[in-house]
């Protein structure tokens, strides 16, 4: 058997690694085993940021398990990026991906950023794109739901009025006015 890493020398060492409950075995020659040991950790594939992200998303360190899983895979309607593509590279495809994969991303963001609420700057003229407005309405609807569940009806009424106002803006074509 040849070493799986260099494909040149005979494999004499069998290494087993478990990352995120994903077990992988590799047969190595002495030279490659030493090199891997020198790097401290990490078999193939190399431990780059995307692999860490994938691990944080709970798919082990490769995307194959995801591709083989049952059921339709979530895809971003805007750019077509699939979840497994995101997991493979650790990169989102467009702004809308954050909306498409929101549920998956939230725990990931909590782990890499510590927090999940943006504080800080907002675009100065933030009511200028339809997409932005649609997103805001979506956010407000969730807030409304929470307020109702918490029986805070006064607040809910305020939120409902805001949503109506934003929907009206959307119908009138905000971006059309700006452009």
């Amino acid at each position: 058997m040849l070493c799986e890493r260099c494909q040149q020398r005979p494999a004499t060492i069998h290494l087993t690694e478990v990352i995120n409950n994903h077990k992988s075995k590799i047969a190595l020659c002495e030279v490659c085993a030493r090199e891997i040991q020198a790097q401290g950790f990490g078999l193939l594939p190399p431990l780059s940021l995307p692999y860490f992200l994938a691990g944080l998303l709970g798919h082990g360190f490769n995307a194959e398990s995801l591709e083989q899983s049952d059921g339709p895979e979530i895809k971003c309607e805007s750019c077509g990026l699939s979840e497994s593509q995101f997991v493979k590279r650790g990169l989102l495809g467009c702004g809308n991906c954050y909306r498409s994969f929101a549920e998956k991303l939230e725990p990931l963001l909590r782990r890499i950023q510590g927090k999940v609420e943006h504080v800080g700057k907002m675009p100065a003229d933030s009511l200028k794109s339809d997409a932005w407005l649609k997103n805001e309405i979506e956010v407000m609807r969730k807030k409304l739901k929470r307020a109702i569940e918490a029986e805070e009806y006064e607040e809910a009424a305020g939120i409902r009025d805001d949503i109506r106002r934003m929907e009206k803006q959307l119908e009138q074509g905000v971006s059309g006015n700006v452009n």
């Binding site: 940021l49 992200l53 805007s78 750019c79 990026l81 590279r89 650790g90 990169l91 989102l92 495809g93 467009c94 702004g95 954050y98 909306r99 991303l105 990931l108 963001l109 890499i112 950023q113 510590g114 927090k115 999940v116 609420e117 943006h118 504080v119 800080g120 700057k121 907002m122 675009p123 100065a124 003229d125 933030s126 200028k128 794109s129 997409a131 932005w132 997103n135 805001e136 956010v139």
Partner: protein, 359 residues
């Protein structure tokens, strides 16, 4: 001065500017990542769409208000520059290595003094960057903020109220802001206290890395400290946190230098003058050796041991001795050994030895 001229000089105007705390802090940089709502992120852009992004940015930087308040910003598509010119921009920390790949899809925007630059279609559509000498994170942050506001008047940013500015990699989401300082810490390295200091810093949500080397073995004792987290902290908080931690490091570095100079005066002076002598007279210098010597020379200047050299000149020399610039200057592709010879010659020239003695 055009971008073409900019890259033919190792000197940048910002190197001459007012530089507070410049005995320890070489430069401050603030970078904001922005994406356009209506386009896929750069790694999914085809050439046509990449060109559309570049054109949108071209229009936005030429906007009258931008010119009035920020100045003339020139945009150049990367493949209009020679590979060498591109590498020089990397050496000057104006653009990243990533911007060199698929250069027909990428562009860079630059103000003449090189204080403001914008990378177009790197990992994100826009990386707005401001570079200032010394410790001036506030000023750099304000300038990035202004450029961002003005660009935002023309461009539709991808943004969510909850998660802030949306970036290609989720590690930059929120403010999209990375603030960093380049520090010269020979004192802490010499007294052996750097490891502890860096350890503490990494526990405070900041990242430290050696600038030209790995870990604590950084060539030239140069380190870059930057914020790790971009979500859940405001731009002001990020900058004030980093500034206050840098001020503490700065104080420790000064204490270390003074202690060294007090207790081992001759040794410190010897190190500085040896560096001075070698730089002035050497005939063959690798970039690694030169960086080490510059570190000692800078320390000598800051301690008042040598006076006929400026920190601005050392910063310029640090760009000048990088391989790409040497090749540019010599006009030919030099093998490593010839580069080392040419590097030594350039340094001798700049340090005035050739004036005194001829070659």
């Amino acid at each position: 001065m055009s971008i073409k001229e900019t890259v033919s000089s190792a000197h940048s105007k910002w190197m001459d500017g007012f530089a507070p705390e410049s005995d320890v802090v070489i430069s401050s940089r603030v970078r904001a990542a922005r994406n356009l709502e209506q386009f896929p992120f750069p790694h999914l852009l085809d050439e046509e769409k990449a060109a559309q992004v570049i054109n949108a940015v071209r229009e936005a930087v030429a906007h009258k208000e931008m010119v009035d308040r920020v100045g003339v910003l020139e945009l150049v598509v990367l493949n209009e520059l020679s590979p060498l010119e591109r590498q020089i921009m990397v050496d000057k920390h104006l653009i990243s290595l990533d911007l060199l790949l698929e250069s027909q899809k990428k562009a860079v925007v630059l103000r003449e003094d090189e204080v403001i630059s914008v990378m177009v279609n790197e990992e994100d559509h826009l990386r707005i960057q401001c570079l200032q000498p010394g410790l001036q994170l506030d000023q750099a942050g304000q300038l990035v903020n202004l450029v961002d506001d003005l660009l935002g008047k023309t461009l539709d940013y991808a943004f969510m109220e909850k998660w802030g500015y949306l970036t290609t990699c989720p590690t930059n989401i929120g403010t999209g802001m990375r603030a960093s300082v380049m520090l010269h810490l020979p004192g802490l390295v010499l007294v052996g206290q750097l490891g502890g200091a860096l350890n503490t810093i990494s526990k405070l949500g900041l990242t430290v890395r050696g600038l030209y080397g790995e870990g604590t073995e950084a060539a030239g004792d140069l380190f870059q400290v930057s914020n790790q987290v971009t979500l859940g902290q405001s731009e002001e908080e990020i900058i004030s946190n980093l500034t206050s931690i840098v001020r503490q490091l700065l104080a420790q570095e000064r204490v270390a230098r003074q202690a060294l100079y007090r207790e081992k005066r001759e040794l410190v002076e010897d190190r500085v003058w040896r560096a001075y002598g070698i730089l002035k007279h050497a005939r063959v210098l690798s970039s690694e050796e030169a960086l080490k010597l510059f570190s000692s020379l800078r320390l000598g200047f800051d301690l008042g041991i040598v006076s006929d050299i400026s920190t601005g000149l050392i910063t310029e020399l640090m760009v000048m001795i990088q391989p790409a610039y040497l090749i540019k200057m010599s006009g030919e592709d030099l093998p490593a050994y010839r580069r080392d010879v040419y590097r030594a010659e350039l340094i001798r020239k700049r340090m005035g030895e050739l004036n005194n003695q001829g070659v």
